[in-house]
Symmetry: C2
Subunit: 431 residues, 2 copies
């Protein structure tokens, strides 16, 4: 008797074989992706290459830029901090299917964060080297491996002699690491589906809840003076240190209030504050005339980005009020990127059930849940467009760090998981 399970198991074996046959190609594809140094504002060459790769697979390709939608009219658009809208290109490849199955968006970001000083890497960050089963490089894990998985999952279905029935939009976007405007633009462009899957590197788990995040820049000025008379000047660097300490204290208080949070109570200090960039001063023997620093502060479900921003303003104002110089020379506060909603994947969706069942087949264990202290693009689909959005992907080491790398066996399994998910969600027909 052929049951659903044996059907799935038999299909799984066919798809597994197809994923395996293509896997050397997939690794080469992923290495090529890593070799594009697709830092923010520099993603266009990769996206042009990607559009060609997707077009040659027979998909309808829509390549557009953030300037092609009325981005800033959207209430959830985040400030671009000087990045050229027209240079930030998005790619949506559409497979139409026969319209009989459920539709699906699969989306991955191809922007990567800066690699930092290259001499800190054991293997050059943009060489795309494979060693001992790991593919190394900036973006290998976060999340070019996921991009390869969603593309090669569809390749495997076709290679196994099947075609999905529902419509599928394969999307590669920018801005995930800074604003989310890339993902937002695809929704503004009109792409919708019955579910969304974003294969971020979360180690074979499903993301149940995620924080939001606010980016802000604080510009402090000083009254410069020759160091010989430093008591007549005020150092903007020391003022910056004062403000940074205030934000550290504020974050501690926020985390104290979060110990009972319905989703995040199991996470120690889920609200992270980070000062990621600092610059100030021009001369060792002059008190610094200026200092600016870029920060990121998380927020939990139940708090809106607007409330978080009011909190940041108040923390800064309070810090300034206790400082004789800053109280009369207030810092400039600039919203420099993320104004990201926190979000929860509400339990019980059919999409989640389908994913859980295919995960069991591939990994031979139940799918675990993750409570995430990072932002992902899933928030727009869930919060703003009512589309169940699954964040589920491979395992790797070192996102945003030196020696970032991805476990290729994990990528292989996740590719199969996605292929099975597509098969079950969108439906399959024999070619």
């Amino acid at each position: 008797m052929e049951t659903e399970l044996t059907k799935t198991n038999s299909l799984a074996e066919e798809l597994r074989a197809a994923v395996d046959r293509n896997f050397d190609d997939q690794v080469a594809f992923l290495a090529r992706l890593v070799q594009f140094r697709s830092l923010r504002g520099q993603e266009a060459p990769l996206q042009a290459w990607m559009a060609e790769r997707l077009a040659e697979r027979g998909y309808k390709v829509d390549a557009f830029s953030l300037a092609d939608v009325d981005l800033m009219s959207h209430p959830k658009a985040a400030p671009m901090d000087g990045i050229d809208l027209a240079g930030s290109r998005q790619v949506v490849a559409t497979y139409d299917g026969d319209g009989k199955g459920r539709s699906l968006i699969m989306q991955g970001h191809i922007d990567v964060v800066p690699e930092g000083p290259v001499d800190f890497w054991d293997i050059p960050p943009f060489d795309g080297v494979v060693r001992d089963g790991w593919l190394h490089g900036r973006g290998a894990q976060d999340m070019k491996a996921g991009v390869s998985a969603m593309i090669y999952a569809l390749d495997a279905i076709r290679a196994a002699g099947y075609a999905p029935q529902g419509r599928i939009h394969l999307q590669t976007v920018t801005e995930e690491e800074s604003t989310g405007n890339g993902a937002l633009s695809t929704l503004m462009r009109g792409y919708r589906a019955d579910a969304c899957l974003i294969p971020e590197p979360i180690g074979h788990k499903l993301l149940r809840a995620q924080v939001g995040a606010i980016w802000f820049r604080v510009r402090v000025r000083g009254t410069p003076a020759h160091v010989a008379y430093s008591e007549t000047g005020t150092s903007a660097i020391l003022s910056a240190m004062h403000v940074i300490r205030a934000f550290q204290d504020y974050t501690k208080r926020l985390n104290e209030q979060a110990v009972d949070h319905p989703w995040f109570k199991t996470v120690k200090s889920p609200i992270k504050f980070n000062v990621g960039i600092i610059k100030g001063g021009d001369w060792a023997s002059s008190t610094a005339a200026w200092c600016e620093f870029d920060c990121r502060l998380g927020l939990l479900p139940g708090t809106s980005p607007q409330e978080a921003m009011r909190g940041i303003e108040k923390c800064l104002a309070d810090a300034q009020s206790t400082d004789s110089f800053l109280s009369s020379n207030p810092a400039e506060l600039i919203w420099s990127g993320f104004q990201a909603d926190p979000s929860v994947l509400e339990p019980g969706s059919e999409a989640e059930q389908v994913l859980a069942s295919v995960h069991q087949v591939v990994f031979n264990e139940p799918m675990q849940l993750q409570i995430g202290t990072a932002v992902t693009d899933t928030r727009y689909y869930k919060v703003d467009y009512g589309i169940p959005a699954l964040c589920y992907g491979h395992y790797g080491i070192g996102p945003h760090a030196f020696n970032e790398r991805v476990d290729l066996e994990s990528v292989r399994k996740i590719t199969l998981s996605i292929a099975l998910f597509v098969s079950n969600w969108c439906g399959l027909k024999k070619l």
Copy 2:
């Protein structure tokens, strides 16, 4: 009966008239000097122009660079931190006299410190604008006004119909704000005299004692991580803040030990620590992988630069030993400029007596003394070459600050003071 005093008073009137006649020219000359943006490493155009101005006055001009002496063989040479030796040009203009008077070096530096953000200035920093009796701009006070004074003092003597008898070297140098290697190179080039006068802006006083200074750069690294997992990373920016606080505490202890210092006991906290430049991190949502900051720490007479450097090393080592990350990932310490001796102008020199007497004539009050918390080039002449070196000059506002400016009436008086000093020190003959 013609006394020394009436002779001086009569000469003073002749020189005063000559300074006054040339003063519009002098102000235009000073404005032109300010218009050269002679930041470190960018002084050559000004020095080329200066060599022409001095040559057209009939002086023998020796224009050379730091590469033309064996600078780094000198035990007092300070590290140049990547600045090109051949591009750092010095100008020495020699007036020979008749050899019957005492010789004199007059020296001024033409390097200026960075102007900082231009929008913080009321008047653009390199326009050389005169307003309400003040000449505005970066370097106007520190110390291009002094350079104008020493040149126009000699012009006034000639215009009044006199010629000095002793040999005079008029020198314009670089590197005063960073290493002192410009002044040192003139001594290595062989220029000597019976006294030296450096017209730095110290408000009509004579500098009795000055601090030394050490420049150093601290490079801290971090273990970057996605801010979502910031507990697995260590922020180089936060480590830098830890080290900066340690240097603030160290400076406090040094100042507590200095309350009985023979020269500096009258100065509150004479040892100044400054962190003048900071840079770190690449991305708001990554814990910073690197941070470096440039510092200046003073030292008092009785402490050698080498002792101060050992103290800096120990302060850094102690700060690192109390930090779990830094103790196993020590910062890099770079000596980035000044390794300047502190120095004292020993009371009782004839040069000082001559200056005091002409100051009384010009200002109609006794010359006051200054204990200085900044470094000047006088240290080499006094400490290393046994030449009494007088630091004495005009009044202005805002050295190293925004809206730096010099009081032109002060410049006029100091020009006369210098002319009278040259007359009395070197001797005069009628032309």
